[in-house]
């Protein structure tokens, strides 16, 4: 089938049937052929001219047909040269005192995590302390730091899993209102935590926090404008819709106050409605006979059919006049520092970030997959950490961030977000026995038999199954004590 289609497509591109036949011996699709070199084509029995001609035609037709992809690519290619990549450093700049401390550490040949250096810096800021003492402080801190490091062969994974799993039993199941924005419901507690480790495509309650660029963020007006731009508004939200069955038309009475609030003009509505496939060319703006200021929009049916009219009513009702897909609601909130922040129910990170006045560095969503799609794995990893620790914190449970980090790092280890479970990490384990012991036992065993899999017994579950010590902790090392024979016994 596919072959036939390709053949026809080639003919349409003015390529002779004979040549097309030859081409198809070597290639499957037009794009394959187009990407081949003339020499490749010649090897299929084409003459040099024919090959060049074919490629030309294909290349040309591609441009002529204006394949959106190609066009876009070219567009993208040009400005691409101008794009300058600069590293975004989000870490705070090193302060003077921190720099001094770092120098001292280098000098002493010691190492401390940045966080500790920052804290020491904060405490010593402004205080007059002799350098000897500071060195002493650093020395002691480093000593403690070395002591506090985790031992080798510690089963860090199990520690993390238990630390996150154990408080799960104490969490609530209920969905609460989001603290601060009572209007938006957000899943919290155990269901949210499960959602995070499941790496669900869409969270049950997607939500965004949209920050506005510093220059606008303190103006209610500006922020309100952004909010109404992103919030999905259907015609029904801003107008009353009336069906005139006698004259077979739909009359829309816009609510001027609501429209003003959202900054929408009747012309915009007409324009929008005319874009709809079902309403194209049937929408007109009319003025009230008595009151010239009152305008209304009339949608006439082009054929006298009630079915058609019904379709028009539906289409008018659902017509999206303004806003972004998925953003159901946008609510403004004043932060203590005076800035206004938009909270939204529903999420559409890509389009919101494209909005002009939005602060792209801070705006975020609670949908981890969306962050992964738009900003990449590293961002998704940070988002997992942030969302999980916020969920736990909100429930009043303290879990060390290192545990959550480990889970997030494992979930994003090979470049995309993988779930914790049989479709994600557990299903991808190298050991057949470990997979069989987790879930879908029979399938794993049967499949292993077909592929001739070998279980190298490296992991924990499989070693427990065959009954030998696991490779973690004390099981990871081998110590043999060989007592020296006492000379007396040796003599005997």
């Amino acid at each position: 089938m596919a072959r036939k289609d390709t053949f026809n497509a080639l003919l349409r591109r003015n390529i002779e049937a004979a040549i097309a036949d030859k081409l198809l011996q070597g290639y499957n699709s037009i794009s394959d052929i187009a990407s081949a070199s003339p020499a490749d084509l010649m090897s299929l029995g084409l003459s040099e001219d024919q090959a060049a001609d074919t490629l030309n035609k294909l290349g040309k037709t591609k441009k002529e047909s204006g394949s959106k992809k190609a066009a876009k690519k070219e567009q993208a290619a040009e400005p691409a040269k101008k794009v300058e990549f600069h590293r975004v450093v989000k870490a705070k700049p090193v302060t003077e005192i921190e720099a001094k401390l770092n120098d001292m550490l280098d000098d002493l040949g010691l190492e401390l995590p940045r966080r500790v250096v920052v804290t020491i810096g904060e405490r010593l800021e402004g205080a007059d302390i002799p350098e000897v003492k500071i060195r002493e402080i650093l020395k002691r801190a480093s000593e403690k730091y070395e002591l506090h490091k985790m031992d080798a062969n510690e089963s860090a994974g199990i520690l993390a899993a238990q630390s996150i799993g154990e408080p799960g039993t104490q969490m609530t199941m209920r969905t609460f209102h989001y603290a601060g924005v009572a209007e938006i419901n957000v899943t919290l507690g155990l269901p949210r935590l499960i959602e995070i480790v499941d790496a669900r495509r869409v969270p049950s309650t997607p939500m965004m926090t949209v920050y506005i660029r510093p220059e606008f963020r303190e103006s209610v007006e500006e922020v309100r404008r952004v909010a109404s731009r992103i919030e999905k508004t259907t015609l029904l939200d801003i107008a009353d819709i009336e069906t005139d069955i006698v004259n077979m038309k739909v009359i829309v009475h816009p609510d001027t106050s609501k429209m003003d609030q959202k900054g929408i003009t009747p012309e915009q509505i007409v324009e929008r409605l005319n874009k709809d496939r079902r309403l194209r060319g049937q929408v007109k703006l009319e003025e009230d006979a008595e009151d010239k200021a009152r305008q209304y929009i009339v949608v006439t049916s082009d054929e006298p059919s009630f079915k058609k009219l019904q379709g028009i009513v539906q289409a008018t009702r659902d017509a999206v006049i303004q806003g972004l897909d998925g953003i159901e609601r946008a609510i403004l909130r004043r932060q203590p520092n005076g800035e206004y922040v938009i909270y939204t129910a529903g999420s559409n990170l890509r389009d919101v970030l494209a909005e002009e006045k939005v602060d792209r560095t801070r705006t975020t969503t609670n949908s981890i997959q969306e962050i992964y799609d738009v900003l990449g794995v590293e961002a998704a990893r940070n988002s997992i950490i942030h969302e999980a620790s916020r969920t736990l914190e909100e429930q009043g449970l303290t879990v060390d961030i290192r545990h959550i980090m480990l889970v997030a790092d494992l979930m994003t280890n090979d470049g995309d977000v993988k779930a914790i479970g049989r479709h994600g990490i557990s299903g991808r384990k190298s050991s057949v026995l470990a997979r069989a012991a987790f879930e879908i036992t029979a399938t794993h065993l049967l499949h292993a038999a077909l592929t001739g899999e070998t279980d190298d017994l490296d992991g924990v579950a499989e070693n427990i199954i065959v009954g030998q010590p696991v490779t973690l902790g004390t099981g990871a090392v081998n110590l043999v004590y060989e007592p020296k024979k006492r000379p007396k016994e040796a003599n005997q």
Partner: protein, 929 residues
């Protein structure tokens, strides 16, 4: 007994049995469907053939000549009259049929395509892929191949293969018999298999269609003899009988040249039996049932699920040397100890190797027999078994004790009773974290329960309302050493979850220290000695002399258990977070200051010594080590008990007594609230209720009503609280963090408040009303679950019903939560269990894939971290700079809440914090839906 370094299994390879192999490894061919003859002897070439192994004691295996427990059992086989498809592999067979040519068996791909696929496979090998990646690649290859409708090798046009679940294949609608399927699979050349994800060395595709069926050894399917003498066969045997019977009939019919229809019917029946023999839960066919109607448990069912072989018998096992009984508290025990009842101690044994140096000691012990008499009313351990050097196990009885003792030699092993100081593991389910199983040292005690110090309750999450716990006795020196170093209770005082103490004082211990230290009371000599009688201390401090009488202050007494140079400052639980902290001059005595091991000011309560929050505990463990911390806890336990016993402490319903005028006041507040609610309802009905932005009218009403009622409840609580002073036992418990909260108290004394289901006022029940006691559509406070009464004053019948509704939600919530969180934890463990910290500081899984370059980005063990921080900077500053550091240090109150702190009362209404008025709501209108 095995000694020294044992062998390890290097790897396990999985592959498919070929019919030849099945026959080769078979001890006997099975042909008769009968199992036993009339005399009860197994029939030769039957399913219970003695060649297949022995299950009856005394008999010997005809294949290997061993007895029960020595003979592992041997496989037999059944030659199937006609080939039959293996259910577990139908999907693979379908894949193969679709992607290979029906005549020549080649993969339906041109050489170039095949080459490209081969490259993909090579790339995958290069870059590394996991099980799912490979499977998807194989699937993709099969899919691409099946798109080609004409074989590139022989030009044969391919039919469309469909699968009629569970085991019937059709080509363009025509049925393919298993025989035909097998013939096609036979034609697939070895070199075309790897791209389809099959290893030709482990599995030839035609083996997926069975011609010979392996019969598992009888040891796998033992028959049981009932008391009546009847035999009851295993489910597998039943199924095999079915297979054999139909197989026999099929063969006879086929050989006799019976009509094709009959043969085909029988063939299908055979297919059914073989299918259910493998998996009795195959969708699309009815499960095979026992005579009683119970579905049979066949091969897949044996392996699968929680009760299956893998999870129930391989990943977890039943053990010996364990005990289980009810637990009870004993503050006189150290946190490291566990009290074991004598009865249990006499059953649980520890193997001791007889050496030259312990020969006499053990001989004496053996002489005492299995039940030695008590000496000075003290428990004396005895011996249950003696194992000779040749491995013979001798039971020690009163009669032979003497002679066995005489015969004791070096090299024997004596299984002696448990005695004091033995190391055991102690566990309470659910074992959610590593602190659910810790090592204790034994104290053999009278009576019948396990006993331990109350400070160890939180990590086990134990209470004494009938909880039972398990105890395991360690059997080897290596195990004991590891347990003592890694698992001992004192090593687990700091939790790896948040780097704070999980083991610490609870309930009465906190009340005790509170009474001892709050406002620094004085105790006379008698009281002091009574308090200190069980506490380890050096000397009494110098008494305070008032009016010629000697007194000791609570602070002095508490200081006795602190390490000498201990130094700390923090705010106690009773601190009310005043705007300006008066520090040492705190009116509530909430500013705890300890210098040089002396408590100077402050009250010792939950914040100081409690589990999860105890600051003193935290610091002692960190700075002075586990031993010091254990000693501190043991002492605090005894000190607190001493203090609370001198003071006397009780709580009762009269603790919630409030004066008449308070009750009247509360009543007024509540009536006022109810009146305001009806005003709101009135306004709502008249349509003059001002709509909140972003809310519908209904929602607005609910929000307003909830706000009014919530505030009324709080106000009632405050009025009640005003009359409950610090001398009130219930208040002491709530404020010191020992038990209960002020909310609980206000609900007992003031008003219970609004009942809620799913965070909303009650609304379900009858049509438009909650109960028939109210008018339809009544939106008032009483009709929607507002409980005006307190627990003490008692509820009206309707209130009681509403309260039960709220309570029920709580119960359902708990039930759902436990199962959901249990599964989440299982998944987390399964995903993370293989991760470990390597010598180079990276975290890797067992496939050596790096997950983190540095554990937690700083390599710090959360257990040793200072509430998450790598190093306690303030501490170092004060060490180096001395008192100067006070100015620099910030006594930051780190939020440290563990579990049990979220006693978010289920009856609690939504605490609507007076959020800033919503400025703007882009949602125009909203409208009631």
């Amino acid at each position: 007994m095995m000694r020294g370094v044992s062998k390890r299994i290097g790897s396990i390879k999985f592959s498919t049995l070929s019919p030849d192999e099945v026959r080769k490894m078979s001890a006997t061919k099975v042909i008769t469907a009968d199992t036993y003859d009339d005399d009860g002897f197994p029939i030769d070439m039957g399913l219970m053939d003695p060649h297949l192994g022995v299950i009856e004691p005394g008999l010997r295996c005809k294949t290997c000549g061993n007895k029960v427990d020595e003979c592992p059992g041997h496989f037999g086989h059944i030659d199937l009259a006609m080939p039959v498809i293996h259910v577990g592999l139908v999907k693979e067979i379908k894949k193969l049929l679709q992607s290979t040519c029906k005549t020549c068996g080649h993969l339906l791909m041109t050489k170039e395509e095949a080459q490209r696929k081969a490259q993909e496979w090579a790339d995958m090998d290069d870059l590394g892929g996991d099980a799912i990646d490979y499977r998807l690649l194989a699937k993709g290859t099969a899919k691409d191949a099946s798109k080609n409708t004409i074989c590139p090798y022989c030009g044969q046009e391919q039919g469309k293969i469909t699968l009629d679940k569970p085991t019937t294949f059709r080509e363009d609608g025509h049925k393919l018999t298993p025989k035909e399927v097998r013939e096609r699979l036979e034609r697939i050349p070895d070199e075309d298999l790897p791209p389809l994800g099959i290893d030709p060395n482990s599995c030839r595709p035609e083996w997926m269609v069975l011609t010979a069926l392996a019969v598992p050894p009888v040891t796998v399917r033992p028959s049981i003899t009932l008391e009546s003498g009847d035999r009851s066969e295993d489910d597998l045997t039943h199924k095999l009988v079915d297979v054999l019977r139909i197989n026999q009939r099929l063969r006879e019919n086929r050989d006799a040249g019976a009509p094709q229809l009959i043969v085909e019917d029988l063939w299908e029946l055979l297919q059914y039996h073989v299918t259910t023999y493998f998996d009795n839960q195959t969708s699309g066919i009815p499960p095979a049932r026992h005579r009683s109607g119970r579905p049979l448990k066949t091969l897949v069912q044996r392996l699968k699920g929680k009760e299956g072989r893998f999870r129930s018998n391989l990943s977890g096992k039943r053990v010996n040397f364990s005990a289980r009984t009810v637990i009870s508290p004993d503050p006189s025990l150290s946190i490291n100890e566990v009290g074991v009842p004598e009865e249990a101690a006499r059953e649980l044994t520890v193997p001791v190797h007889v050496t030259k140096s312990n020969l006499e000691f053990l001989r004496n012990m053996v002489k005492g027999g299995a039940n030695p008499p008590r000496v000075d009313d003290r428990y004396v351990p005895g011996v249950n078994y003696v194992i000779r050097s040749d491995g013979r196990r001798m039971k020690v009885t009163d009669r032979n004790a003497e002679s066995i003792a005489e015969g004791l030699e070096v090299g024997y092993i004596v299984e002696r009773h448990l005695m004091d100081k033995d190391v055991v593991l102690f566990n309470r389910q659910p074992s959610l974290h590593r602190m659910s199983m810790m090592a204790h040292t034994v104290r053999v005690m009278p009576w019948k329960t396990f006993r331990f110090n109350l400070c160890v309750c939180p990590p086990y999450n134990a209470d004494f309302d009938g909880d039972e716990m398990n105890l395991h006795v360690l059997q080897s020196d290596e195990a004991r050493a590891e347990a003592m170093i890694l698992m001992r209770v004192q090593e687990h005082i700091l939790s790896p979850r948040f780097g704070g103490p999980v083991i610490g004082a609870i309930h009465d211990h906190i009340t005790g220290t509170f009474l001892l230290t709050h406002m620094n009371p004085r105790f006379d000599k008698k009281e002091t000695l009574s308090i200190l009688s069980k506490v380890k201390h050096d000397e009494l401090p110098a008494p305070v002399v008032v009016d010629g009488k000697e007194y000791w202050t609570g602070h002095q007494l508490f200081s006795l258990v602190l390490p000498e140079d201990f130094h700390i400052t923090f705010k106690a639980s009773i601190c009310r977070n005043c705007a300006v902290c008066k520090k040492e001059d705190c009116d509530l005595d909430a500013y705890v200051k300890i210098r040089k091991g002396k408590l100077i000011t402050g009250t010792i309560d939950e914040k100081a010594i409690g589990s999860f929050k105890g600051k003193i505990l935290d610091k002692i463990t960190r700075d002075y080590g586990a031993d010091a911390s254990r000693e501190f806890l043991d002492n605090v336990t005894k000190l607190a008990i001493g203090a609370i016993m001198v003071h006397g402490f009780t709580t009762g319903i009269d603790d919630e007594d409030i004066p008449e005028e308070a009750s009247i006041q509360i009543k007024e507040v509540l009536t006022d609230a109810v009146r305001r609610v009806s005003e709101f309802v009135q306004a709502y009905r008249e349509g003059i209720l001002e709509q909140l932005p972003g809310r519908s009218l209904d929602e607005t009403l609910e929000v307003e009503v909830m706000k009014v009622l919530g505030r009324a409840r709080d106000e009632a609580g405050q009025i009640a609280g005003r009359h409950l002073g610090m001398e009130n036992s219930a208040v002491i418990m709530a404020r010191s963090g020992a038990r209960g909260s002020m909310l609980n108290l206000s609900q007992m004394a003031g008003c219970i408040g609004q009942q809620a289901v799913r965070g909303e006022r009650l609304s379900r029940g009858y049509w438009n009303r909650t109960l028939p006691h109210f008018k339809k559509g009544d939106l008032g406070a009483e009709a929607k679950g507002f409980v005006q009464n307190s627990y003490k004053s008692g509820l009206t019948p309707t209130e009681f019903f509403f309260h039960s509704m709220g309570g029920r939600e709580g119960l359902v919530d708990t039930a759902v939560r436990t199962s959901r969180s249990g599964y989440m934890q299982r998944r987390l463990i399964s995903a993370l269990e293989d991760l470990k910290l390597k010598q180079d500081g990276t975290v890797r899984n067992t496939a050596d894939i790096i997950v983190q370059l540095r554990y937690g980005e700083d390599g710090v063990d959360p257990c040793r971290s200072v509430q998450g921080d790598a190093v306690d900077v303030d501490d170092i500053l004060s060490e180096v700079l001395g008192e100067d550091a006070e100015a620099l240090a910030r006594i930051e109150e780190k939020k440290l809440s563990g579990y049990a702190t979220i006693e978010k009362d289920l009856m609690e209404t939504m605490e609507e914090e007076e959020a800033e008025e919503p400025e703007y709501d882009a949602g125009g209108g909203g409208g009631d839906d």
